[in-house]
């Protein structure tokens, strides 16, 4: 479970200060698919960074499985990210000069997974995204859709409990993008990991269990699909569900 409580992120000082996040609170149950929707500059990326432990706002809490990650030491946050979080980016960020295998192996190396285990896990992850035959190909030689599938394999290889996808289809044509969406939702349903998609694409957002709409650093609305288990935490009352 992810609990975000009164999260506030301020840039700059005094008069010139600007609140990228302003008292944001919500709760996400395990295994849900969540869309953080908003225009560019709305604060949705800042929210994702705070929830994944990349950024550390001074005010508020991000409690994941009972631990407030904002209070963890740097080393512990790094380990938290390497063990619990998977990232998928709009621009893929695969290493063009390395093979598919080495790209996917990176999170395992960072998490100090031993060599024997590593190969098996990489092969499994590549099989899930249907890139088994590209294991020895240089990532630079893959198509856009294949690159994003490779990035997904890299995100799931360490079996994270939360996957963050930042505009995962933004750099793809609609047909390829749709396939990537299908893959992501399938992994979310089958794998049981929580999927958090940051997007401004309302079509994509509407496919998620929960839509958290951000505007000017504040939560505008939280929309839940019929099957959803989550509600917006009332701001003042502090009641949790």
């Amino acid at each position: 479970m992810i609990e975000v409580k009164n999260l506030t992120k301020t840039y700059g000082k005094k008069q010139s200060s600007f609140k990228a996040l302003d008292d944001v609170s919500f709760t996400i149950p395990d295994g849900a698919s969540v869309a953080i929707v908003g225009k560019s500059g709305s604060g949705k990326s800042t929210l994702m960074h705070a929830m994944s432990g990349l950024d550390r706002p001074e005010v508020g809490e991000v409690v994941i499985d009972g631990t407030n990650i904002l209070k963890l030491k740097n080393k512990a946050v790094d380990r938290f990210r390497s063990e619990k979080i998977g990232f998928i980016f709009q621009a893929f960020f695969v290493q063009a000069n390395e093979t598919a295998y080495d790209n996917v192996a990176l999170p395992l190396e960072i998490a100090d997974i031993a060599g024997r285990d590593r190969r098996k896990r990489v092969e499994t992850a590549l099989a899930v995204v249907d890139l088994t035959d590209k294991i020895k190909s240089k990532a630079g030689n893959l198509s856009g859709g294949q690159k994003q599938r490779l990035a997904i394999a890299r995100a799931i290889v360490n079996k994270p409990s939360i996957i963050f996808a930042d505009e995962p289809t933004g750099n793809l044509d609609s047909a390829t993008g749709e396939k990537i969406e299908e893959l992501l939702f399938e992994l979310n349903k089958k794998g049981g990991s929580t999927l958090i998609i940051v997007t401004h694409d309302h079509d994509l957002a509407s496919k998620c269990d929960i839509q958290i709409r951000i505007k000017d650093g504040k939560i505008d609305t939280i929309v839940q699909a019929k099957t959803s288990k989550v509600k917006k935490t009332p701001k003042k009352a502090g009641v949790k569900l």
């Binding site: 790094d78 621009a91 960020f93 000069n97 390395e98 999170p107 190396e109 960072i110």
Partner: protein, 461 residues
């Protein structure tokens, strides 16, 4: 992240930027090459000096003088143009410095010591001319006392075993002298010189005759006897050639003088100096520390009796210090080249950090620690240092092997002696040091990489 994984990733990154890696490595390679050459040349020079000393000086040998300033390089207090009290023991060395000479009593004192043997003063025998066999051609050459403490090699005839001197009527001549005598038609072949009789004539100026002597000479021999009194006196020394010493590239003495027995050297030297202040005065003595005695301890014991000694090791030190200075100069150039290449590494790695901002951001986002990122870049720098070191060392070894025979010929080092001697250990050590230097150079860019904010690094345009 495990060190082995970091090292592998570092190697992969370098492979994917081949041109840059090779160019940066070459910059280090230049420094490594110079350093490898200087190490090899230093080693070669030292081994050569060792051979040189080994074939000329017995390790037990001591050179003992009365005036310690001779070994100190500074001017003796006795030198200079000022007026000073006369001292019969002060004389001149070959280089013109005034030093306190050793007297015969002091030589005898040294010879009587139980920790020294083979005590031979620096006799200065000189010969006016010499004739060989039945020939009446006169020749002049340097003569020196035979040194029984060094093993030589004979071209013809045999040399006495180590430690034994020549018999009183034997001489050893350099092979090259025989060649000259063949050219001059004195002997038919070089081998013929062995067994040939040599008569050396030494001469000394006559002292002014007294009135009584003149009167007596006139009374007995007339005018001719008076004239004979003012002629230089001469004395003949007869020897047989025992052996011809082989011309060795590393021998210092044997190539330039005829070696005569010590007793003859003394006789000759005393004959020519009798009546002069140089009579029985010596610059110093050559001696051997008795077998089993440490030459350094003997040296210390001698100092207590106010004798100053130089051991073979001291002499070695003098030669080595020259070698070390020369090596230091070459090494200096190598170090300068390295310093230049260090900036090359810093520059390359900074560019690499800039180029790979995204990659660094991604690794940090995936939970890689700043230390891990830093190590990745330092390992890359270390790989560059390794490559540069290996390239430089390899080129140095190949060129050294190719040019060693030519260098030996040009410098006349003698068969089997090489100037450039490559040993694996110093080269491996050099490569390791280069890797450490490269890592040090890579520290600044690595720190920049480690401090990179992943959010900034991953921000898309």
């Amino acid at each position: 992240m495990k060190t082995i994984d970091i090292a592998r990733r570092a190697a992969r990154s370098l492979r994917s930027a081949k041109t840059r890696t090779i160019l940066t490595s070459l910059a280090i390679g230049v420094g490594a090459f110079t350093i490898a050459i200087s190490i090899a040349a230093g080693e070669g020079a030292r081994q050569y000096a060792d051979t040189l000393i080994g074939s000329n000086i017995n390790p037990r040998a001591l050179f003992i003088v009365k005036d310690g300033s001779l070994f100190e390089g500074g001017a003796s207090p006795l030198s200079g143009s000022g007026i000073r009290e006369y001292d019969p023991d002060v004389g001149m060395t070959a280089s013109g410095a005034s030093i306190k000479l050793m007297t015969q009593e002091q030589v005898d004192e040294l010879a009587a010591r139980s920790d020294l043997e083979n005590v031979v003063p620096t006799y200065s025998p000189s010969v006016t001319y010499m004739v060989f066999g039945d020939s009446d051609k006169k020749f002049s050459a340097d003569v020196a006392a035979y040194d029984a403490t060094i093993t030589g090699e004979a071209a013809y005839g045999t040399l006495p075993p180590l430690g034994e001197g020549l018999a009183a009527d034997e001489v050893v001549m350099p092979e090259s002298f025989a060649t000259t005598l063949v050219e001059q038609g004195v002997i038919d072949t070089e081998a013929d010189l062995v067994g040939t009789r040599v008569v050396m004539t030494a001469s000394r100026p006559t002292s002014t005759a007294t009135a009584d002597e003149l009167a007596q000479a006139y009374a007995t021999g007339g005018a001719a006897a008076v004239a004979a009194l003012s002629q230089p006196e001469t004395k003949e020394f007869a020897f047989t050639v025992r052996a011809l010493s082989k011309q060795s590239a590393t021998a210092l003495v044997t190539g330039t003088s005829i070696q005569i027995p010590v007793s003859a050297a003394r006789e000759m030297s005393e004959y020519t100096t009798e009546g002069t202040p140089a009579y029985q005065r010596y610059v110093g003595v050559q001696a051997l520390a008795v077998e089993g005695e440490d030459p350094d301890e003997v040296k210390a014991a001698l100092l207590e009796d106010e004798f100053y000694a130089q051991t073979a090791e001291d002499l070695q030190g003098v030669i080595f210090s020259i070698v070390n200075i020369l090596q230091g100069i070459v090494l200096g150039f190598g170090v300068i080249a390295l310093i230049a290449s260090v900036f090359g590494i810093i520059n390359t790695q900074y560019i690499s950090v800039l180029e790979r901002t995204r990659e660094i951001g991604l690794m940090k986002a995936l939970g890689m620690r700043g230390g891990g990122v830093s190590r990745l870049f330092q390992f890359e720098a270390a790989w560059i240092g390794f490559l540069g070191g290996v390239i430089g060392a390899a080129i140095a070894v190949v060129l050294g092997i190719l040019f060693n025979p030519t260098i030996t010929e040009l410098l006349g080092l003698g068969e089997g002696n090489y100037l450039l001697i490559f040993q694996p250990l110093p080269l491996i050590g050099m490569v390791i040091v280069l890797m450490l230097i490269a890592m040090l150079a890579g520290w600044f860019p690595a720190r920049k990489a480690a401090k990179l904010d992943p959010i900034e690094a991953l921000r898309t345009e």
